[in-house]
């Protein structure tokens, strides 16, 4: 199948007074049309920077050091701002974490969605824009759109606001939707509804979605494929089933074991020891080695390559090397 988005060996650095911070290091992944890819990792692992660098929304202090971003067969790595402006919204758009800061509190929701519609279809008459706004609001599950479009963001609950933000993001019928922690600020019940909505919209419009989150628990519902990020690198990638039933990387084990649902009846929750490394001075070898109870001597010297488990499942850990000792993973296998 043709790849919609292909990122190859992407490295992004921030240049700060304290020196160069390598936020994204040598990341490669691809996205097919209509697919949901979840990017999972702790805060500061570079998952948001990855999305923003694809959309070219990085601040000036950041620079793409190497690698390429190919969308629909066209290389956009070197695109200037003017060209990007045309791509954003049509080709890809973004849903942010906090719907309160993403919306303008002084404009009605209808006006904000209408603004996005006009940008993408400049020739539209007022009535047609109104029609399209109501269509979009219905699509994202805001009922009674004729009344609701005249309301301001503060009239809406958090979940409704996030639906509004999604309507704006979908106004240009993008082929790729980046959702950066869209449910983190929401309650469990609302979170489940928004996840279902994401899934529903993706199925109806065929929009490919990159879903960024720190919570592996919410991924099971929406994702076709999962990429686990640690310290700027993708350390494991596979289908949702492979990641949940047969995880291979010790960091993925740690993330799964920290979930309370898998700790029922135990006295304390599993925690990953230590802290993520400082990316201004990434350690030699595997960045996860010092927190990894299964670390091998080579982990401190050389970075592991991506080892192939199946055609869709890859993990960057020396444990998959044929010379590595066999260990019993602390998790997985049981459900399969």
């Amino acid at each position: 199948m043709a790849e919609l988005l292909e990122v190859k060996n992407l490295s992004v650095s921030f240049f700060t007074p304290a020196g160069e911070v390598q936020a994204v290091r040598n990341v490669s992944f691809s996205l097919r049309p209509g697919e949901v890819l979840a990017v999972v990792g702790e805060s500061g692992c570079g998952k948001s920077v990855l999305c923003k660098s694809i959309m070219k929304l990085l601040p000036r202090t950041a620079r793409i050091q190497s690698g390429s971003i190919v969308v629909n067969g066209a290389d956009i790595t070197g695109c200037r701002e003017r060209d990007m402006h045309r791509l954003r919204g049509k080709l890809f758009s973004m849903v942010f974490q906090d719907p309160m800061t993403a919306l303008n509190p002084t404009m009605t929701l209808g006006a904000q969605i209408g603004e996005a519609v006009r940008v993408h279809q400049p020739g539209l008459s007022g009535g047609a824009v109104r029609q399209r706004v109501m269509e979009l609001m219905t699509l994202v599950g805001i009922d009674r759109p004729e009344e609701r479009m005249k309301l301001y963001p503060h009239n809406f609950s958090g979940g409704q606001r996030q639906r509004g933000v999604m309507a704006i993001a979908l106004a240009g019928s993008p082929s790729i939707l980046f959702a950066d922690e869209p449910t983190t600020a929401l309650d469990v019940t609302i979170q489940a509804q928004i996840l279902d909505l994401l899934r529903d919209v993706q199925a109806r419009l065929g929009t490919a979605t990159v879903f960024v989150t720190h919570d592996l628990g919410v991924v099971a519902r929406v994702a076709d494929r999962v990429a686990v990020m640690y310290a700027g690198r993708i350390v494991e990638t596979g289908t949702a089933e492979e990641i949940f039933y047969d995880p291979r990387h010790p960091y993925t084990w740690g993330l799964l074991r920290a979930l309370p649902a898998l700790n029922r009846g135990r006295d304390s929750l599993y925690t990953i020891p230590g802290m993520p490394p400082n990316l201004a001075h990434p350690p030699a070898g595997d960045a996860f080695a010092c927190r990894n109870e299964y670390a091998l001597a080579i982990d401190y010297e050389e970075e592991p390559p991506m080892f192939r488990v199946t055609d869709t499942h890859y993990a960057a850990t020396w444990l998959l090397d044929e010379r590595a000792p066999r260990i019993t993973p602390p998790i997985g296998g049981a459900h399969g």
Partner: protein
């Protein structure tokens, strides 16, 4: 019952006036008790009044009606409060959700932790204020190298530990934690939850733990109260509530917990609950041992 009741909230009601004509009943006739050494979880969606209830408990809001008895003292009664002011202000402590706003960015960590001691003019039991701060830091699992740092230099989990250390500096008996883990990463959440559990088991602290993450609540709490639109709709021991939820809203809430298993998760059906389904009035009725459900006065068993 043999267990001592530390906090007894009786028919608490708090109303926020919006304008001359309208007002919001943020907390409506809520009653619950916290026993000594117990972690009581208060769950519900945002806007259900759980934070307001916590702030009433901490005397930050003056409730419209109802009583809050802490160790038998009515904290809403001005005379009783004045008479026991010092005890009430030191043995109850609050931990907020957002540490970037609850810790002063311009104070060093050891200053933050010992500020309550200075305010209450407590002679530091371990010699100096700095030694006291170092002791509390160890208690929450941070080492002394953090003492001279400023909050922005710390990660979210470390800042939350500093906030907990500050609350512990007064050697409280009741800790009120208002969504202390909502803004943290999953692995850091686990660390903070383990810390709470340790504080309860080893040192006998009592907690009012407010959260919307039910999976964590199930793991941490002894008893849970479910709030919806200002009403307490169900309260029960944790195991009982999760295995036998009686109120439709509790069922909806429980059905929304994500399961980290793609096949089961995708077949999971969400139970929905609409506000119209909750009739006004009604009272908590006993449905089992220590298990209470809100039932409207007319309706029988469902």
């Amino acid at each position: 019952m043999a267990e001592e009741i530390l906090l007894d909230v009786q028919h608490l009601t708090h109303v926020f006036p919006l304008n001359r004509r309208m007002s919001v009943r943020a907390v409506d006739d809520v009653s619950f008790q916290i026993r000594r050494g117990e972690i009581f979880g208060l769950v519900g969606e945002s806007g259900s009044g759980k934070s307001t209830a916590a702030r009433c408990v901490m005397n930050l809001y003056r409730p419209r009606s109802g009583r809050i008895l802490y160790k038998g003292i009515d904290t809403c009664d001005a005379a009783a409060f004045r008479a026991n002011r010092r005890m009430l202000q030191t043995t109850r402590q609050l931990i907020f959700q957002d540490t970037s706003s609850s810790l002063n960015q311009r104070m060093r960590v050891w200053d933050i932790i010992t500020e309550p001691l200075r305010i209450q003019r407590v002679v530091p039991p371990r010699g100096s204020l700095r030694a006291e701060a170092a002791f509390q830091m160890h208690y929450v699992g941070l080492d002394e190298s953090f003492l001279d740092k400023y909050p922005p230099e710390l990660s979210g989990g470390q800042r939350q530990r500093v906030a907990i250390a500050r609350a512990l500096a007064m050697e409280p008996e009741l800790l009120v934690a208002d969504e202390p883990i909502a803004s943290l990463d999953v692995s850091i959440q686990a660390q903070i939850v383990n810390l709470f559990k340790h504080l309860q088991q080893e040192h006998g602290f009592s907690f009012l733990f407010i959260a919307h993450d039910l999976a964590m609540v199930e793991f941490l709490c002894d008893r849970v109260g479910v709030m919806y639109r200002g009403r307490l709709v169900e309260t029960a021991p944790t195991a009982e509530l999760f295995s036998n939820p009686l109120h439709p809203y509790t069922r909806a809430l429980l059905s929304a917990i994500p399961i980290p298993d793609p096949r089961r998760e995708r077949s999971r059906q969400l139970v929905t609950f609409h506000g119209e389904d909750l009739p006004p009035g009604g009272a908590l009725r006993e449905a089992g041992p220590d298990h209470f459900v809100l039932r409207s006065s007319g309706s029988g068993e469902d």
